[in-house]
Structure formats: C-alpha cells, structure tokens
Symmetry: C2
Subunit: 375 residues, 2 copies
C-alpha cells in the first residue's frame, strides 16, 4: 500500500485531502498530531484521544532518551506498548529540544554534544544515532536530526546550519537504508534555512533529491509575523515534491492551521492547544476564551454552543472557571478534551470541504467568525 | 422507602450490609465516599467514578462556600447540576476545615467567626446557616456543624467543645424541621468528645436522643494509635442507635476500613486514597507500593496482578514510574483510578462476605496479605 495517497486536490488553493498508511494504521490528512512528548499527551487518556478521533500522536526522542531512557522503552516492546497507544506515532529527533533546552557543549559535523536538563550529564546526538534510537522504540514516522537556530540569525550562521542539516540528512538516509533495507521504516527530511529565501530553496531542493518518505518544514513559528510564516512556507513548498506529505512543525493555532492547509500542508503538531488548556484558555468558534474571566462566574452555558465535545455537552463556563480557580486537575482534563476536539473538528471540516470542493468558502467563513471576537 | 435498611448482620462481629436510599439514588453500605471537596474528586472524571461503581461522593461546604460561593452553585441548580454528578452527595459542614485551616477569630455558642484562607475576609458559620446552605445546594446528606478540637486536648477544653457541639446539634435539628418540615432532607449528627470516654458517652447519648437520620463519629484518625481509634469507636458505638447508619469521618486506609466495618461502621470518607495517588503511592493486595522506587524501572507487570481496574489492565509499573518521575498529570489520573478501585473493591468484597456469612474469614485473609509486605 502507498505510504501517502492524495485523494483530492483543491482547485482554488494548494489544499489537499489524503491518507497516510503506517504500520500502525490509517491517518487521514490534513492531520493535527497532539504532542505526547514524554509518552503521554498531557492531561488526557488514550481512550479520550481515540474518542476524539485522534489517529496519530507525536513523541519526542530528546525527552524519552533522558527519561525513562531508550532501553526501558525498547524492553517494554517499543513506545506503543510502553504507553499502550494503539495507533500511529511520529517521533521528533529532538533536534529542536537539544538546541532550545540544553546547554550545548559542542556542535560538529558529526553531531551535537549536550547536557541533560535533568541531571547535567553529557550526551551525544548524531544524525545516525537518532535514527537508530527512534527505530529501536518502534516509531511509525521518524524525523531526522536538524540544527535549529534562533529567530533571525544572520546569513552566515544560517548557511552553516543549513549546510550541516543537509549533510545530516544524507547520513540519515544512509542509516535508514542500513538498518531497515527495503523495510517499512518511514523517515522525513526537514527543511531549515531560517528566513532567508535562497537558503530555504537550497534546503528544499536538497531534501527533494533525497529518498525521504515525507518532508517537514522546520524553523517557522519561532516569533515571526504570520505573513512571514505563510510567505516562507509558500515559497519553500514550491521547491518540494508535492507527492510527499508536507509537515509543518510546531503549528497549532486554528487560524494558522487553516491557512497552512490552504498552502498545501498535510501534517501539524504543536504543544500549544494542550498547553493553553492547562492555563485556562479555550478555542471557540468565536475566538479564544479565557476561562479565568470574572464574567463567566454565573455563565451556565458551555464553552462553545456549537461544540459536541464531552466538556461542552456536560459542563458550564461557570463550573470550568471554578475548577481553574481552584487549581483542580479536572480543569486541565476538560479543557484539553475541548481544545483538541476543536482542532480535530476544524481539520475534519477542512478535509470534508476539500473533498466536496468548497474549502475556500469554509476557510473564509471560519476565519471571519474566529478572528472577530478574541477574548 | 426507608432511608436506611439493614440487609444482614454478621453473627461474629458488628459488621452489617445495608442500603441507603437518598433522593439521588441507592447507596449500598458499607460505602467509601471519595472526597470531592471542591465539586470534583481530584484527578478523575465522573464517568470514571461511575465505572468504578461509585454511588456517593463527599463535598465540603467550607471550600464551596469560599469558592465558587453558595450563590453560584444554587443558581446552577444545585451542586449535582453544577458538577454534573448524577448520584448521591454527602456534604460536610466544614466544621473540620474551619477549625483546621482558617485563622479563627471567635468561637461563641452561636457559631464561629473565621478568616478565609483565600483572601483573609471574615465569615461566620452557625449551626443554623450551615444547614441552610447545604440545603440550598441540594446535598443529599447534610452534616451538622461541630467543633473539632486538636488531638489530646485536656478534659475541660474537650468538655466545653463537646457541650457546644451538642447544643449546635439541637439547633441543627430545629433548623431542619423549619426549612424542610416532613421533607426528604437528611441530616447526620456528629459525636465528638476527643479521647475521653465519659465525653464520648455523653455525646453519643445526646445525639441518639435527637431526630437525626444517621450518626457520624468525628475527631478520630487525628494522630492517635490504631488500637485507640478502635477502642473509642467501639465504646462510642455502644451508646448509639444501631438502626441508623454509622459514619466514620476521615478514615480511608484499607486496614482501618476493614476493622471499622467489623465494628459496625457503614460509611467512610477520606482524602488519603486520592491524595496518595498524586504522590505516587498505590494500594495493592500485598501492601502499599511506592511507584517512585527504582526497582520498578524495568518492571512491566501491573501495579497489582489481581486487580481489574483500567490502570492495571493497561499500564505497567515501569510506565507509571516514568509518568510520575516526569510529573505528568496522567500519573495522578491512573493512580487515582487504581486506588479508588482498590478501596471500592475491598468494601464490595467485605459486603459480599457479610451477606454470605464469612466476613471475619475474609477480613483475616485480607489483612494477613496486606500487612506482610509494605513497600
């Protein structure tokens, strides 16, 4: 079976609806992947995720490597068994975390030496060993190691990092072919290049020439304006093989997601929808709601009248406000269920509208409602 | 329908199996009531509680009064609707919390003035207004206001508090008859008297002469030795009307619960089983397990091989240890489900053994296993 099949392309935009088939099951695209960094999506059970129609989650090698350790997961029979997740898992190499969380000791062409955020011990990630470790824990889709640079670095720094990331990409492919020749291991390349178009082009063309199963765009959503995100995304996508799935790393706000779908993105992940849930914030069809707000004290309506999630069917804003103010875990649980439902529903509706040929209408209507009324 | 019906009395002990019928449903006794202080049992959803067979939970007037406020709950249509709980709720008057959490301004015969732990504001609880407030939020079983004294107070202090608590009990009954004459409002009296037998007797006899629907024993499990708990419990129970349900306030450890059942107790509550869940501790048939322990790193067996709960059917000690060490909310969720299941299961088995006439055998076997192997 083909790894990625495009079912329908929108005629008025680059949006498309498809299906990815991994060794663990079917993933309808476009798809949002909730972040399960440490072998759990925060504040929600697997069953609650299944109920919301979640077909794939994201794990993170950096965190899993440090705690509980690859060995513990491998001996459990892999990440799926360890966390009892029966659908697909994409794992990130942890490149982003190495460069954003750890004190880095040394970056060389062969990899990066870093200190653990847990106990300060020294570790080494190479393009080869991150592929091997993700393979050992049984990930369905594996990301290469990339060098993630801070926002708005200069040309030379960005060029060096982009070149190194492309060299690492070559090593990743070789490693894949060595450990799983002709097998079902799926590896995605990552395009870097900061906000410099020539370097985005260089990376996109390089990655396109390599035998990856999908392509990710990294290094966006790092502090730039939304127009800049879309511009770089759109520009970069023009140099990519559009028969492969396109994954935008680190995007999860409703407006951004729908615009990225318009520009041909098939996959998303972001910690934001689950993180804001723990901070008392909720998506609604009419914009974000901050449940802490005093005006909800006597508001016995659901978060979103149009929403069919467990939270909206059973609980009021008044109750959710009380839970949040009382520091109750149930607050995080109920808002996480709602916010993930909201994103899943938005993407399902986008997909349906692509299939039925009216995506742009749907998008326009959604954005008009969503943006007018931020809390 | 009778509020409390005893179905079977054990011939070798004071244990009994019965049924309480409230306006919200049936409660089989003996029963453990999980603590839902602030309109939620911590780290578990209502559906997960229903699934574990939970028929009654406990709310706390002190906390609900301070946040979100009685008015907010009343306007929601009562506590059941506010938190979407469809079974029975017993509310505590908050006497214990007033005396243990708040800075008390003044105790008089008419009530107690205290400062809010949230914002320092002044409030007044009287035996009458706590009954009225619990009635307003639609509680199924209401507790009177009692004066809770620290462990091992002297005779005079204990006597004063006991006398005041009995005067308050009289006012509570009068209030009940005034606001709900001949209605379905159920109110329990509370026996205090510290560790002084003559005062326990005084309270027990006084409460027995009043028209309460059930009787609670308060002021135990406050730091004394277990033999002392059982001695006072047993002594006190001798002066009570044993046709009414007997409620031991603040007991939830498995060994204590089964011994209290032996001594005629029908109802229990305690924050401990849910609190230890958030601290990484779990009941098992062979004693407590501390999931933090390094020896569970590669332990892929469930918490308790004999347990049928969701957690034990799906997750290993290795995974639970990882979640706890990673500070994940799912750790609290999964341990809460397990620990409540454990207590419910213990009480269900106790009840079955009372009905089938072999409670003492069951108790002896359980304790032998449970106590031999503490972690």
């Amino acid at each position: 079976m083909a790894f990625f099949k495009i079912l329908k392309k929108d005629t008025k935009s680059s949006a498309r609806a498809g299906v990815i088939t991994t060794k663990s099951g079917i993933v309808k695209t476009p798809v949002f992947m909730p972040v399960g960094t440490k072998a759990t999506v925060k504040a929600i059970t697997n069953e609650q995720l299944y109920e919301e129609g979640c077909e794939i989650i994201l794990g993170n090698l950096y965190h899993l490597y440090l705690q509980p350790g690859i060995d513990v997961i491998e001996k459990a029979g892999g990440l799926h068994k360890f966390m009892n997740w029966k659908r697909s898992i994409l794992t990130d190499s942890g490149g982003f975390q190495v460069f954003s969380l750890s004190r880095i000791r040394k970056i060389t062409d062969s990899g990066v030496e870093f200190k653990s955020i847990i106990d300060g011990s020294s570790h080494f990630f190479s393009p080869g060993n991150v592929i091997k470790m993700q393979y050992r824990i049984g990930s369905d889709i594996i990301m290469v190691l990339d060098e993630c640079i801070p926002f708005n670095e200069d040309y030379n720094y960005t060029l060096d990092a982009a070149k190194r990331t492309m060299e690492w990409a070559e090593i990743s492919i070789k490693t894949k072919n060595k450990i799983n020749p002709g097998g079902d291991l799926k590896v995605f390349g990552i395009v870097q290049g900061g906000f410099i178009k020539s370097l985005r082009k260089f990376c996109a063309q390089s990655v396109s020439q390599m035998d990856f199963d999908g392509v990710a765009i990294g290094g966006l959503s790092v502090g730039e304006k939304k127009e800049q995100t879309i511009e770089i995304l759109n520009y970069t996508a023009g140099f990519l093989d559009n028969k492969k799935p396109l994954y935008f790393m680190g995007l999860g706000d409703p407006a951004g997601v729908i615009e990225a779908i318009e520009n041909g993105v098939d996959m998303f992940d972001c910690a934001m929808p689950t993180r804001i849930s723990r901070n008392g914030s909720a998506f609604t069809a009419e914009g974000r709601v901050n449940i802490k707000n005093k005006k909800y004290t006597y508001d016995y309506t659901p978060l979103d009248e149009t929403c069919n999630c467990y939270t909206c069917k059973n609980y009021s804003r008044s109750y959710l406000r009380h839970l949040f103010k009382s520091n109750e875990i149930l607050s995080s649980i109920l808002l996480t269920i709602h916010n993930l439902h909201f994103i899943f529903n938005l993407i399902n509706q986008s997909r349906d509208s692509i299939l039925s040929g009216n995506f742009i209408d749907f998008k326009t209507k959604f954005l008009k409602n969503y943006i007018k009324n931020e809390d």
